[in-house]
Symmetry: C2
Subunit: 300 residues, 2 copies
């Protein structure tokens, strides 16, 4: 709740995760809705045990702006639907060709490639159906701004642009500038959008929105660098997917460009910055401050 | 323009097509925007010589409700972006595996499968970025309603649901009921949405919206039955793709269920119904009345 100092990040995250989980349950048609093949596949991937970091960031950003939780839930669900679609499509044989994700078979391994493509399409589409519901007491113009921002963040000059450059960068030497582009787009733009959407739906003023955006950019970059590091250090039991995959594929990563120690240093610095920004946002942004510490120390 | 009786359907369609073309040009980032690979692929498919029937239906529906054209253009572009994405994904090797579309190589044949998947994703996403721009003088709540309706029409219980059932129906005997589901969802829901979106953005009242929806359902079904018929009768030169493909694939079609003559009769009856509904909508719906005749007589 806004203003309450959160001393127990883990119980905060668990409580928020439960709230998000309930809202996500209602954000898709029931599993047996016709045609069931697509709804099963959508639910299989949406309820695959994700940490729900993105929707929790939406909630935390809205709370930092003084909002109650209920009006933030459609936006929280929308970003998770987009995130899930992007994972399904990234895992496809034509893309990363991954058999496992979070320790389970990927969508196309279970349901076939055609249904996996369509399940991704349907999750992406559903994100906008969910986001366009106007919560009580929120001006429709704000919701429309959220729709625009989410679409741009997920589009060809955001998340998808990052995925394109990531694919192009495989198997050739890549400058740090390119790695920065990939990270700030493939991962960063959606994380930034989480913070912006939470702020927009939560009634943030222009100054708060700018701070939330900066927090999102900083945290998103730290998050992706840690992801690169965990890919090297992690193994199947903690990551739910094979470790060392990026290196084997010649993926453009921070550790590949800078070495492991410098990469870790960069992530630490970014998390400190994010914590400072959260402090500037005030007491109600305490969860955001703690989440920045969590990102730095996560194990999977 | 509203109220003007259109005697020359072809010049009406040509003028509207030009307007749509200009608006579509501005609806995507320039071709060389970074990363160019995705923007080239998006534009390749969006500017592949489509008839722009769907955006013209948006304009005609809005005009029938007494609207000017400018406020209708974002919605007109949005439906064409969705239509184009659905064609790109339908053509993929995992789906229909088509090499040609409108006489040109399909997106994945030119740009590869990964870029084609992402170009489809990006067009779908961009549809919502474009639609969420509020035209001058339109209430944001109306635009949000349009966003919701488009997302539902394109989603797992609309267009995508139709594609799923269509794939499942290949190579097995299919009841007319199933063909009806496929047609009313795979083709019908987006065409219905064109009429609804035009009405919503054009300020239609509830009664007009209901008539527009019914016109859309009727026309959409007629359109798809004619498509099935043209697939049998057409050849590469008029259709821009191989003829007889549906039969070779064991696709669920109207002619396969009813025979060619009964299918043609059904299409004719639906077009008559659509014309009657357009007449009820009044003089400003004259283009809609004429378009129903055009759908029945089209050759490709």
């Amino acid at each position: 709740m806004p203003g309450v100092r959160v001393t127990e990040l883990h119980s905060y995250l668990a409580a928020r995760r439960e709230l998000v989980q309930e809202a996500l349950e209602k954000s898709l048609p029931p599993e047996e809705s016709y045609p069931p093949a697509i709804h099963r596949a959508m639910r299989y991937s949406l309820f695959a045990g994700g940490k729900r970091l993105r929707p929790i960031l939406v909630l935390a950003a809205g709370e930092a702006a003084g909002s109650l939780l209920a009006p933030l839930l459609p936006a929280a669900c929308a970003v998770e639907l987009i995130h899930t679609y992007s994972l399904i499509h990234d895992d496809l044989p034509a893309m990363d060709n991954d058999d496992y994700r979070r320790g389970r078979l990927t969508c196309h391994k279970v349901y076939g490639e055609a249904i996996a493509i369509l399940a991704g399409d349907a999750l992406l589409t559903q994100a906008f159906a969910v986001l366009s519901q106007v919560p009580d007491g929120i001006a429709p113009a704000r919701v429309l701004q959220a729709v625009t921002e989410l679409a741009l963040a997920a589009g060809s000059q955001g998340l998808i642009g990052g995925q394109v450059v990531d694919m192009e960068a495989e198997e050739r030497p890549v400058a740090l500038e390119t790695v920065n582009y990939i990270h700030s787009h493939k991962t960063g733009s959606l994380i930034r959008a989480c913070l912006r959407l939470g702020g927009i739906m939560g009634g943030a003023d222009a100054e708060q929105l700018a701070l939330l955006a900066r927090y999102g950019e900083t945290l998103g970059m730290a998050f992706q660098i840690m992801d690169d590091i965990l890919d090297i250090e992690g193994d199947f039991s903690t990551m739910g997917k094979a470790g060392g995959v990026d290196a084997a594929r010649g993926k453009a990563t921070y550790p590949a460009c800078l070495g492991l120690e410098k990469a870790r240093g960069a992530a630490g610095q970014l998390c400190n910055e994010a914590q400072d920004i959260a402090s500037t946002l005030g007491a109600a942004a305490e969860p955001l401050r703690l989440i920045a510490g969590y990102v730095l120390n996560r194990q999977g």
